[in-house]
């Protein structure tokens, strides 16, 4: 085994950090050089992620046992040093981040990159924060990576400036700063009670707490859960989300589609690790399930009510978060695998949708719109007056732009509402099938609630998407937008990936099921991180 392979888990963090730093040092005027460096680094991250994905699917090479790669920073052994843990779930999330990141970066090179300064470095730091959050095995380290990705996302959300962005960004920053402070309180409380921040050791220590300490630990866990739910966009903590996502520039909003899934990832990780110890309130159980259902309901109402495609995309993100929360909170473990499939499919589809929406709106003749008056009545801004958009200068326009836009719009609609033939259907179908299969066992009410919520939210999505789609594509009196290859390519690529995911649903489902199984067997995780404690892990 090559020695570089041993350092593989840290590379997804180090590479964007170095790239971002280098990009900061190169003058903003050297567009081509900067773009090349950023693109190469992002593609390299994709390769790294794919390597990890392939590695964690099989027996790992020498220094590691089993299927979980552990990297001790500074070679300090686990409970004392910080560890990075690359298991199947982390590898999936890394691959998803790098895929979406590559697409959004390519898309932004056409023009958004020039709408302000430091776009490329911030983008790399966002990727670093995401990768780190998915890899780390330490609670406080998780906080640090959350802050890295949030700090970068504040900058990116404001990229391009303008009244709407600053207004939405202000709320976004305040909400997330408050959530970060809660995260700190939670981490301190958990450390104060258990004396450890290592997630694997935490799972062991919690079992031996005295009842008094256990109460304190549960309070810490509740606070932690609230933080993750804020990030995941769960109702009632998600009022900032549609506004911020609608105001952000298209490639940024596209990559933000995965930000909410960081919260989902963290919930899933802690839920499965702490499950054996009797999950504290916010992780798993009835509570999370109902929270997810409420999120789906509010998201669906938002979908039906909204008059703007950008906000519609934001509400679709909320619905996908709600679906995932309900699936994680669903009793039993049968829904975890399908939920991961749904996560991947909805992130790819959602990211593509944000970019499609921007392309569709580009040359839209708003004044000719039938509903212009109602826009005015609701005090909405006329996007045609948006003058800060830089001129497109790079690349060649594609022919048949309208046909392309129509096709991608319909594909995204199919993906996000879960209609055949793309991966959204497979994801939703497997979720429904798993939920119905659970029904005859115990009380069947949760199953039917889940099925109803999923189908009704899909219906709301279809109604709203077809209504807005008709208005956009058939209302006439609009010029054909000019699209560039570099913009159309990534969107087509993301949708093609979803089609491949649907075609390869068999192997993909197997991988996700294996991921779910290893998640619900935390003993393997604990054993990989803390070989010395293996006996106490209850294997």
């Amino acid at each position: 085994m090559g020695s570089w392979q041993q350092h593989l888990p840290i590379l997804p963090v180090v590479l964007p950090l170095l790239t971002g730093t280098v990009l900061l040092l190169i003058s903003e005027t050297r567009h081509r050089l900067r773009a090349t460096i950023a693109l190469l680094a992002t593609f390299a991250q994709l390769l790294l992620a794919l390597t990890l994905l392939a590695m964690t699917d099989a027996q790992l090479p020498a220094p590691w046992h089993g299927e979980i790669a552990v990297y001790s920073l500074g070679n300090w052994a686990a409970p004392f040093g910080i560890v990075l843990v690359a298991d199947r779930l982390a590898a999936i999330m890394l691959t998803l981040t790098a895929t979406l990141g590559s697409a959004a970066l390519l898309y932004s090179l056409a023009r958004w990159e020039r709408a302000g300064v430091h776009y490329l470095p911030l983008f790399q730091f966002l990727l670093m924060g995401l990768n780190g959050a998915f890899l780390t095995g330490d609670l406080f380290n998780l906080f640090v990576f959350f802050e890295v990705l949030l700090a970068a996302s504040y900058g990116l959300a404001l990229h391009g400036s303008g009244v709407a962005r600053v207004k939405a960004g202000l709320h976004y920053i305040v909400v997330n700063l408050a959530a970060s402070l809660l995260f700190l309180v939670a981490a301190a409380l958990i450390y104060g009670v258990t004396g450890t921040l290592n997630m694997a050791e935490l799972a062991l220590r919690v079992q031996t707490l005295s009842p008094d300490d256990r109460t304190l630990f549960d309070i810490g866990a509740v606070l932690l859960g609230v933080v993750f739910l804020v990030k995941a966009g769960a109702w009632p903590l998600n009022f900032w989300l549609p506004t911020t996502y609608a105001a952000a520039s298209a490639p940024v909003a596209g990559v933000f589609a995965i930000l909410t899934k960081v919260g989902i990832y963290a919930l899933l990780r802690f839920e499965t690790l702490l499950h054996a110890t009797g999950s504290p309130a916010p992780f798993g159980g009835e509570w999370l399930f109902h929270c997810g259902l409420a999120t789906i309901a509010i998201g669906s109402l938002g979908i039906l009510a909204t008059q703007r495609l950008e906000r519609l995309a934001g509400f679709l993100v909320i619905v996908s978060s709600g679906t995932l929360l309900a699936a994680i909170g669903f009793r039993g473990t049968a829904l975890t695998g399908p939920a991961l499939f749904y996560l991947v499919s909805s992130v790819l589809g959602g990211g593509a949708f944000f970019m499609v929406v921007e392309m569709v709106q580009r040359n839209r003749a708003y004044a000719a719109d039938l509903l212009a008056i109602s826009f005015e009545a609701f005090g909405l801004q006329d996007p045609a007056s948006d003058t800060e958009r830089p001129d497109e200068t790079v690349g060649l326009p594609i022919p048949g732009a309208m046909a392309f836009l129509g096709l991608t719009f319909v594909s995204c609609a199919l993906l996000l509402t879960g209609l055949p033939p793309l991966s959204g259907f497979v994801a939703k179908f497997s979720l429904l099938a798993a939920a119905i299969a659970e029904a005859p066992g115990g009380s069947s009410l949760p199953s039917w609630l889940f099925v109803a919520a999923l189908l009704l939210s899909g219906l709301a999505g279809i109604i709203s998407l077809s209504r807005l789609g008709m208005r956009v594509f058939w209302s006439g009196e609009r010029s054909t937008p000019r699209l560039l290859w570099v913009e159309a390519g990534p969107v087509a690529g993301l949708i093609a990936l979803c089609a491949i995911l649907a075609l390869a649903a068999g192997p993909a489902t197997d991988y996700f099921r294996a991921t779910a199984e290893s998640l619900h067997n935390p003993a393997a995780y604990i054993h990989a991180v803390l070989p010395a404690y293996a006996g106490g892990a209850g294997e």
């Binding site: 600053v166 202000l170 970060s180 450390y191």
Partner: protein
């Protein structure tokens, strides 16, 4: 000492939350800062309050854990201070941009009624 410490955290967190819910951006940023102080003290307190104990091992004093205070919360506090300082500075920039673009310091960018 514990009572004073707890009261300090409580007063700062209480004032911070109240200010955070006010409609002016300046009040919000002061509220966030106060909350951050409260949280930093809280983290510090999670290492248990000790007088005259150092966190770093001193060869002359020996290695008994009784002689030392827990170093981890102090390291955490340091990180938390740096991060909250940086994010507050960033928020200050956004606050000024919002004031400049909207001509008002209301958090919604526009005055509502008589407030």
């Amino acid at each position: 000492m514990e009572i004073v410490f707890a009261l300090a955290i409580g007063v700062m967190a209480g004032s911070g939350v109240w200010l955070l819910l006010r409609p002016r951006t300046f009040q919000v940023i002061i509220g966030l800062s106060l909350l951050a102080y409260a949280v930093n003290l809280f983290i510090f307190g999670m290492g248990r309050l000790r007088v005259g104990a150092v966190p770093v091992i001193d060869p002359l004093k020996g290695s008994s854990p009784d002689l030392y205070t827990d170093p981890v919360p102090q390291a955490l506090v340091l990180t938390a201070i740096v991060i909250s300082f940086a994010t507050t500075a960033l928020f200050l920039v956004v606050l000024l941009a919002s004031r400049g673009l909207n001509g008002t310091d209301h958090v919604d960018g526009q005055e509502t009624g008589k407030e």
